[in-house]
């Protein structure tokens, strides 16, 4: 089941959704857009372990990871 993983102060928060459910998919897409608008970076990973940055919602991605915007330390 596709999962959206958001890094946060608890470690991470995960939201699972059924990609065949129109309403669930719409909610997931809205969540994606909201996080990206807040400066989060979205990334997906292939089965080979390669990581790709994405700018558009992909309902078929098994896992989409979001992390907050980067700042200089």
């Amino acid at each position: 089941m596709p999962t959206q993983i958001v890094m946060d102060h608890t470690g991470d928060s995960r939201t699972y959704f059924d990609a065949r459910d129109v309403q669930a998919r719409a909610n997931a897409e809205a969540r994606f857009k909201k996080l990206v608008a807040r400066g989060f970076t979205a990334a997906v990973r292939t089965k080979a372990g390669e990581v790709t940055r994405v700018s558009a919602f992909d309902p078929n991605a098994e896992e989409t990871l979001f992390f907050p915007r980067l700042v200089g330390g």
Partner: protein
């Protein structure tokens, strides 16, 4: 003579320390444990193996092809390395907010592998610590 043998001993102790650290946290459901589990899931097998053995893993920047070493920690833990594996320059950048070390290292990895220039644009540079440059790694 003693100083010549020291890096090997330190490396072994470090590897044991990393293993113990991971074993302790992997059984728990704390925020740090979750961060480490997420890191493990997203690192390549080779990167995770390197992290377990040495306390760091290496990534290749997507724009320049340069190699970076990411040490365990939350800040001042990313170093550009040369062809011989020596530390050249430190780059300090972190995701905003109070995240676990595992999350921070994962964000740094993804940033360098997918948007290296943007990550370095916000980073502050620093000189490598002498201990790390000599292979004696301390934990952040």
């Amino acid at each position: 003579m003693l100083s010549l043998r020291r890096p090997a001993i330190t490396g072994r102790l470090l590897a044991q320390s990393v293993r113990r650290f991971y074993e302790r946290f992997s059984a728990e459901n704390t925020r740090d444990a979750r961060g480490l589990r997420l890191l493990r899931e997203w690192l390549t097998p080779a990167q995770w193996q390197q992290f377990e053995a040495l306390g760091y893993f290496e990534v290749v920047g997507c724009d320049t092809g340069k190699r970076y070493r990411i040490y365990r920690g939350r800040m001042t833990n990313v170093y550009e390395i040369d062809d011989l594996g020596c530390l050249r320059e430190g780059w300090c950048f972190v995701p905003f907010g109070f995240l676990t070390a595992g999350d921070v290292m994962l964000a740094q990895k993804i940033a360098l592998e997918t948007s290296e220039s943007a990550a370095l644009a916000v980073a502050n540079r620093f000189l490598p610590r002498r201990q790390r440059a000599q292979g004696d790694v301390s934990w952040n």
